[in-house]
Structure formats: structure tokens, C-alpha cells
Symmetry: C3
Subunit: 410 residues, 3 copies
């Protein structure tokens, strides 16, 4: 760790927001890339986006471009999108279908697993085995693809074990993307996370979201009547879910102790009830698509997941919404939001984008605006760290502690 970063770290105080330079300084941003983004497990996309051998998609982690392919064997690979000859980008499109990865510059040709197959025109003694595309570590959990740019990434097993049973009923492998929307948000990636980690801002900013959910209620402002209603809904839901095999949620309803860098907890998932009468995170609470995965009934609440540093998902019985962050500068985050439905659902017949999308499109865009406004404020020379609410922002503090531990350990 550079001593410059160390000086900044000393200025951070538990229970208070980060000093301003953490959201704009180029040296800290480069350190974030190195310590967080090139070491952790990043959500890349959905396996169902590359269902057929030869399908691929690309993603950009700041200036690093990655190709994710499905090989003929059905296996999924992640490869640096950089030709080993003179460094040209190989795939310029966000997604596509190819038989081989052919560099457009001099037609060096790689297999879908990155192996160099041909480089016509090169000297004959060139050892092709030394010029495969650089591999990126990849893990799939029930249809979600995670990659790590690290040579020696942290173990993934614990995440796999925790997430797989919770994810399985949602059927991500048998899903399809109904639509994806890209945003370039003018805010540091950490501001986007801090926003995600509390519902203190929900009451005023998310009129749609709070109609469906309980999480804007906290210990300090929940009336006995609401508290009783919540307890009843939770008890009823958990009993029903246990009966239908959705059991692992039992002990994890509500906000979990995520994240925790000491215990290497960068992932979490839980199932939460929706409010009475709602079966989906849609504008009116009614289902907007056919049941997904293994679900037999619509009363499954929402499955929620989050993995640091770049993913969260809210899934209802009928659709799932994934959000992926990618850093694109000290004050810029590239965000993609996907809406997924069952693979057999047909647009126009089984679902309508106008009904499927608004709940999370509005909620997401409300958050991006908040983050951009906060970025402008923390850029001020007058900004000073402020105190977190112990009732409502303990999870933001957990995120900040996780982040500081990760960059301090480097």
C-alpha cells in the first residue's frame, strides 16, 4: 500500500462517512482498481445470455476489456480481449456469435477457450502454446457468472455454498433477458453502493419501492401496529416457504450482516416477504410474467442477493432484476440493469415491457440521480464526513468498513 493511501486511511473514522478524496482522487481510484476490482469476484453477466456454443459478450472493467464465451463443450470461459500479437481488441461488439475469436488486425485465430489456433504469417518456430489469450478466472453459480482478474483469486467455495441453494428455485439458468439498460452514472462506485445499503432515503425518493416492501421501516419509526403486521407476514411466509422447500431463508430475513471483510463475507442473499397483497415488485404488485424456475405459487416474496464489489439482484416469483456496476473513472460508474423472465415466456403474449420494467427502472434512476447529486456535494472543499444513523445506516458503515479493510490489507 502506498504511503499516500495510508495517510488518507488514517483520516477515516468508524460511524462517519469517508473523506471527500475517496470519491474523486485519481490515486485512490487507481488503488481501488488494483485492490478491489482486480482482486475481487465481479459479477459479469448471466449464463443464459450465452446459451449456445459460440455466443459471447464483453464487459469493460475500467480500461480492461473481457470476453466471456461459451465453448463447444458448453463450458464458459473468460478471456482478456487483447490479442497476444500486437494488442488489438479482438471483439469490438458488446455481444455476438462466432466460431473462433479472430483478431481483426492480422487474423490471429483463437479458440473459444482462448487457445491460439493459427497465426498465419508468423515465423514457424513461434511456440503457439505461449500465446493463448490471457485467461480470467470464472465461476458460475446457478446461471450467474462471476470473474476475477486476479492471478490467484480468493476462494469462491463459501460464496458458492451459500448462494447456490437460495438461487436454485429462481431458475436463472432457464431464464432469458427481456431487456437490459445501460447507464453511465457520474458518481464514484462507492457512492452507488452506499446508496444501495440503506433505505433511510426510501420514503421520499422511492414512492414505488416503499409500496411493495418493508425495509424503509426501522426500529426507530415503526409503530406497534406496523411491527405486528410485519411479524405476522414474516411468520406466515416463512412457514409456507418451509413447507414448499424454500427453507434456507428462515434465518436470513431482513438485512444480514453483510459485508464483513474480517470473515471474508462479500456476498449475501435472503428471501423477504412483500407487503400484503403483493406478489411481484411491479407497479401494482401483480405478476407481470409467468412463474420462473421451480416456483409453484406466486407467494414467494423476493429473493435478494448482493455481492461486492459490483452486483445486486431482486427477484420476484415472475421476474428477476440484476444490477451490475463497473468502474469507469473516479467519478463515473457504468451500470447495467437486466430484466429476466422465464426462458419460455414470449414478449407480447406472456409479458409486456411496459409493465415489467417501470418498478425497477424508476427506482434505479431515482438512485442514480441521488448519487450524482451526492458526488457534486462531496467534491466541495467544504465537505466533511458526517455521522451515520445507527438506526438506519449501519449497513452503509459495514460497507465502508469492508472497503477500508480490503484496501488496507493490500
Amino acid at each position: 500500500m502506498s504511503s499516500r493511501i495510508e495517510t488518507h486511511l488514517k483520516r477515516c473514522q468508524p460511524g462517519w462517512s469517508l473523506p471527500g478524496e475517496f470519491y474523486s482522487d485519481l490515486v485512490i481510484y487507481e488503488s481501488d482498481l488494483e485492490q478491489v476490482w482486480r482482486r475481487g469476484w465481479l459479477f459479469a453477466g448471466h449464463a443464459c445470455e450465452i446459451a449456445q456454443p459460440g455466443d459471447y459478450f464483453t464487459l469493460e472493467v475500467d480500461r480492461d476489456s473481457i470476453i466471456v464465451t461459451r465453448a463447444d463443450s458448453g463450458e464458459i470461459h473468460a478471456l482478456h480481449n487483447v490479442c497476444r500479437h500486437r494488442g488489438s481488441l479482438i471483439c469490438s461488439e458488446p455481444a455476438g456469435h462466432v466460431r473462433r475469436l479472430v483478431c481483426p488486425y492480422h487474423q490471429w485465430t483463437y479458440g473459444l477457450d482462448g487457445k491460439l489456433l493459427a497465426c498465419r504469417g508468423m515465423q514457424e518456430d513461434l511456440d503457439k502454446s505461449q500465446f493463448s489469450l490471457q485467461r480470467v478466472e470464472l465461476r458460475e453459480v446457478e446461471g450467474l457468472i462471476f470473474i476475477s482478474l486476479a492471478r490467484d483469486p480468493a476462494p469462491f467455495e463459501s460464496a458458492q455454498e451459500t448462494l447456490a441453494p437460495l438461487l436454485r428455485p429462481q431458475g436463472f439458468r432457464r431464464a432469458k433477458v427481456a431487456r437490459a439498460v445501460d447507464y453511465l452514472v457520474q458518481a464514484n462506485w462507492k457512492l452507488v453502493w452506499e446508496n444501495n445499503r440503506e433505505c433511510y432515503h426510501c420514503n421520499v425518493n422511492h414512492p414505488q419501492y416503499i409500496k411493495a416492501n418493508f425495509d424503509h421501516f426501522n426500529a426507530d419509526d415503526t409503530t406497534p401496529r406496523i411491527k405486528a403486521e410485519m411479524n405476522e407476514v414474516v411468520a406466515r411466509s416463512e412457514a409456507k416457504w418451509a413447507a414448499t422447500g424454500l427453507a434456507p431463508t428462515h434465518k436470513q430475513a431482513g438485512m444480514t450482516t453483510f459485508p464483513d471483510a474480517e470473515r471474508n463475507i462479500w456476498f449475501s442473499a435472503n428471501r423477504t416477504p412483500l407487503v400484503e397483497g403483493w406478489v411481484s415488485e411491479s407497479m401494482d404488485g401483480q405478476a407481470v410474467a409467468p412463474l420462473m424456475g421451480n416456483y409453484q405459487a406466486s407467494d414467494v416474496g423476493t429473493l435478494r442477493m448482493r455481492t461486492l464489489p459490483n452486483f445486486w439482484n431482486h427477484s420476484s416469483c415472475d421476474h428477476a432484476v440484476s444490477t451490475r456496476l463497473l468502474p469507469a473513472g473516479p467519478q463515473r460508474t457504468a451500470i447495467r440493469v437486466w430484466w429476466l423472465v422465464d426462458e419460455k415466456a414470449v414478449e407480447g403474449r406472456d409479458y409486456d415491457l411496459k409493465k415489467l420494467m417501470p418498478f425497477w427502472q424508476l427506482t434505479s434512476e431515482q438512485d442514480w440521480q441521488i448519487c450524482e447529486r451526492q458526488q457534486r456535494g462531496v467534491n466541495s472543499s467544504a465537505y466533511r464526513p458526517g455521522p451515520y444513523s445507527t438506526f438506519k445506516e449501519y449497513n452503509v458503515d459495514s460497507f465502508v468498513r469492508w472497503y477500508l479493510k480490503v484496501v488496507s490489507d493490500a
Copy 2:
């Protein structure tokens, strides 16, 4: 003062323009922000823009956003536009009307004087008195609002005493903004000032301006006939003004010894005659709006003011034009030009923007183009400081000396 700045300062020579790095180097720009912009008195806007309690406007000094409000007491306040909770910008609009300053993120609520009134959701032991919005020093002189970002700003009394009697007859407190235009000029703020501080460039560049004024005539190029005409106009005007109580201008006609960092002179004002037959800085010299302030007749010449680092104003009998500079990068200056008329004047009946605006809109835009062309030239590795005309550019030299003294003193 950093030693890097010191090295640059040593390269500066009296009577010669500044070395190129003063107009583009990021370290010098940051030093300018610190020593000039966060220490001096900045013109913020007009009191008449926030006539009613609850009115506010915002301004940006580089990355610092400031709110100027009128409280219920009628008092004006300037506050950092940064929530004390997590740093969000509070007001995103350039101007508006509110009862309280409510942060859009978590609804922390501040009074119009910046005092924290409510922060629902925070721990009860939070001492609200410690979380007021950070105050910015503010002074009002006859309807002109000045702010200082310094904790311990320079005294303002001398500026107040000098400017108030000269400003009073113009009636800025009883004025209204007819129109304001914003420019983002691709030039360092000092180039904009240097351009303002001489009329050597006027003959060719300002065909409208030189029809109305005398200041493009200098000791070296004024014929005896013109000199006589000027003397006569000045004598006649001063006599008349003395009789009608506009006396303070007597000894200050023409360019004054402004600025002077040794004597802390960063402000100046004077009244100057217009050419024979002109009563207003308009395209044809005729009045374009009703008389302002205390004026009983149109023959009051022009009242001119300037305050460093960011304000000048030319006021005729019928309208006033204010110009405010704000730094927006080493090679960018955000400039606003306001046209003000008497508060009772009605557009369409008493004035017409098409007649009110062109004189100063053309003159201003001619100057911005000059500054942008100069910026491109001084960026060249071949640029070398050149000599100022002792006849025509002594005020530019004064400005440069003022600037160098201010940054050296730091």
C-alpha cells in the same frame, strides 16, 4: 506557498506579461483557488434576485457550491450547499424559493440561515448544533452581495465605505434583473481580467463601445481637438453632478489606481461622462429603460465599478450591466452577465430586450473571443512574456502585480 509556485513567481518581470504556465498549469490554478478565490471577496449576485424570504440562488466557485438565501428576518445568508450528513448537494437548481433547506437524500432540514432543524432517523444524542450548514461570510453593499469562503476574511469596511455612496444613486436595491446570460469561456480567469483592464484593444474590436466612450483615447493618440472636447465634457459633467449630489466622482474620473495589493485595494468605482449626445450605453446612445434609482435626469454618464477577483459593472441612467467571473478550470471561466432595470419597469412597455441588451452583449462576446484566442496562443511552447504598453496597459500591469502579490503573500 509551495516551492513549485515560488519558482514560477521568480520568472515574472514587472512590465511584462506572465509566463505561460500561469494560464494553464494545474498546480498554479489550484494555488489561485486557494490564495485568490477562497480568500478574497467574491461578487455573488444581486440582493434583488432574492427579494422575498425563502428566495435563494446558487453559484459554483470551481467545485464549491454556495447557496445564498433570504431568511424570514430579511437577512441574507450564504451557506455551503453540502449536507452535513453525507455530503449531498442540497439545492440543485440555480435559483428557487423554499421554506426550509431540505436535503433531497435523507431530508435533513435546515433553516434559511443554515441551522439544522431536523434530522429524523438519527440517534437521539446527536448534537444538532454541531451540524449547521457551513457558513460563508457575506456582505451586502447597496444591493450587491459579496461572499468570502475564507474562515477569517480580509476586512470589508474600506470597500463598503468607498463603494456605498457611489452606488447608492443607482438604486440596485430597487432594481430587477431583466435578463442574465451565462457563458463558459475557454480561457483562464486572469486573461479575462487582463482584457478588461485596457482599452488598447477597443478601437478595432469594440465598434459599439467606442462610439459611446472616451476610454480608447490615451495620452499618445489623442489629438488636441479631442483632448479639448473631453476636458469640456468632463468639466461640464462634474459641475452638473456636483449640483445634483453625485459628487464623489469628482476626483475619480478616468482610470483609477486600481488594484493595489500593498494598500489592499481590490475595489474601485467612478463616474465617467459618455460622449456628447449619449445618455446610455445602448446601440444609439438613447435611453432604453426608465431612469433608475435616485436619478432625476439622464445626463449622469456611466457609473463603473470593479472588484477583484470577479466583478465589474457599467451602469447608465436607465440600466446596469453586471459581469461575474467564476473559475471553472485552468483554461475555463464561467461568466454571467446581468442586465438590470428599475424594479417597476415592465418588459414590452418600459423596455425591450432587443434594445436593452445588444451593446453589452456584443461587447462582452467580442472580449470572450479575444480571450479564447489568447489562451490558444499562450499555450504554445513558443509563447514568451511580452512588454506592456506604458501608455495603454499600465492597468494590466497593476492587475498582474496585484495578483503576484496576493499569491506570494500566501
Copy 3:
């Protein structure tokens, strides 16, 4: 040479592409400006663009603007486009016609040779002889203008001697510009050169170019039949050219040993046959304009030139295409492509832009796209230098060796 650059240079290996920082690092870019662009001979433009006294054009070498003028004597001058008074740009237009160079700010007036003629308003003791526009070294070779920003540039004689006899028959002095197109390519200038220095990429990327030329055939992939055909065309062409006085090409057909920093070879030219039946680099190989220069017949192949760091030209019997590179940032190159024809040719009667331009417009734009894709790839943290083909990329390696020698010598 700064020690930081030295560290980078040590990472370079003969036969392998450069490390990524050479294409994006600001310190290396500034070093390139200093060692390559402000020391070498740069192609500026064509003498025929400023045929009349008073004609001028400007060009930008990064942040340095240069004016090239034709004086009343007919002589050509290059001058820094920066007024000696306060540094304003003098000429804002890319080209024009003037009697004197008059600074738009205060009308300091310079001769077309840069001599200060008038500075009305300045003190009388100002020694005008000390305030000429700063001169830029200039050489003309047969209608091609080269400049050097160095105070003490490298000798030009050897380039003059080599290029002049080869250029003469093309008649650049009696040419005219039919059209010029400007591009801002998002790639480091060295990537553009590396692309230019090999035809390994031609087969797939340049369908038009390979129909006309032989240079995509290399030792490793030329069949005996094609080899025999090439030999026959070369022998026949050389015999004919010798007979018509185009002799100097004899020993220089094909790729030459250009460049070579040890022997100070930054220029080269040669004449090459086109394929059977083609007389011009046009879409169908037929002439698209009248014969240029001294040519008596169309069977003259193509005259090709290249000078480092910024020029190449392909000339057919009937038209010539010049390409000029100028650095505009670590990842940006400003490129102009000119199409020239005989000065007496009349558009619409003697040539049609729709037939004249596509061959090189398509080929050029194909290359710019390649370079931009390569820039994105070499920006990746995963990019590593790769091996050059000894069959096809020896000239790229020569370019890289030339570059490294030039920046190491500094």
C-alpha cells in the same frame, strides 16, 4: 532524458511490440513531443497551397500553432502563430490570404516573414527588431514543405538529395489540392505508424488496396507463379522507366531499409509497379485525372515516400495522395489526407472527386479504425508486448528501433 523514461526504455525488447505505457502515458507523450516532434523535420503541407504571395496556412503540433506564409519575394516562411506582445494567436483560420500578419488583439503588425513592422501604442523606445515572430526552420523539396521546431535542427541536405530527383517528375510544384479531409484518430501517433509499416494486415482489411498492389505478398506466402509475375512486371517497368528518365527507382523497388536512426535515415522514397493493367491507385485502376508533372505516359507505377515522424505519400501518374500526422494527445492523432492533381486540371471536366477519392479514403479510414481498436487493446492492464513477424513486420520493428534510438539519444 528523465530517469522515468529510462526505466520504460529498459522494458523494450527488439522484435517485440512496445509496452503499453508508450501509447498512453502522459510523461512519455511529453517526451515524444520534446524529442521527436520538436526536434525532427515535420511535413507541413504543399507549396502549391500557398501559391501566391500573402497566402498562408496554419498547423497545430499539439499545442504549438505554426503559420506557413508565402512572402512577396516568393519565399516561404514558417513562424510561430503567437504574438510577441501578449501571446494571442494571430491567425485563427486554417488558411487564408493576407498582406500583413496583424494580431487581432492590438493590431501589432508583422511582415509575411515575421518581422515586426508596427506596434502602434507602444512606448517609442521599444526595439522592434527584438519582437519578430519566432521563426521555425523550413525546407522545401520539390513542392513539399518541411519544418522543424528545433533551434538547431538536424541537417536536411541528405533528405533533399535523396528525395528531390525522385519527386521531380511528379510535379508537386505544378499541382493543386483537389480535396483535403481531416481526421481526429483516437490512437497514439506511433500506432498509426506501426500500422503504416506493414501490409500483413492488408489482405483482410484493405480489399481495394490489394487489388492494385503487390505489397501484401511476402516471402512466406507468395506462390512461384505470383513471384514470376512480380519479377516480370518489375523488370519490364524498370527497363521502361530507365528509358524515360525515371531511373533512380531501380535499386529501390519494394520496401527499403527505412528508417534507421543510426544512419539518420528518417526519409525514403521509391517507385513501385502496380499490378498488370492498373495505371493509378483508383477503384478500377484506370486514370482518374490528367497526367501530372513530367509524365509522358501512364505506366509509371506509384511513387511512394515517407518521412518520419509524420508524412507519407502515394503518387500515381495522374494524382498524388499525401498523409500528414500531428500529435494531439497521448491517445489522439490529427491526420490530414490530401488529394492532388495537376494544377491545370478542372473539376468536373478533368476529374471527378467521386472517382478520385475512394481508393485512398477507404484505405485510410480502414486503417484509422484498426488503430483505434488497437489503442483500446493496448490500454488494457493485461496487454503484454507480442512478437513481430520476421516475414512481414520487420519494417514495424525498424520503426520501433528508430523511435527508441531517437528518444534514448535525447
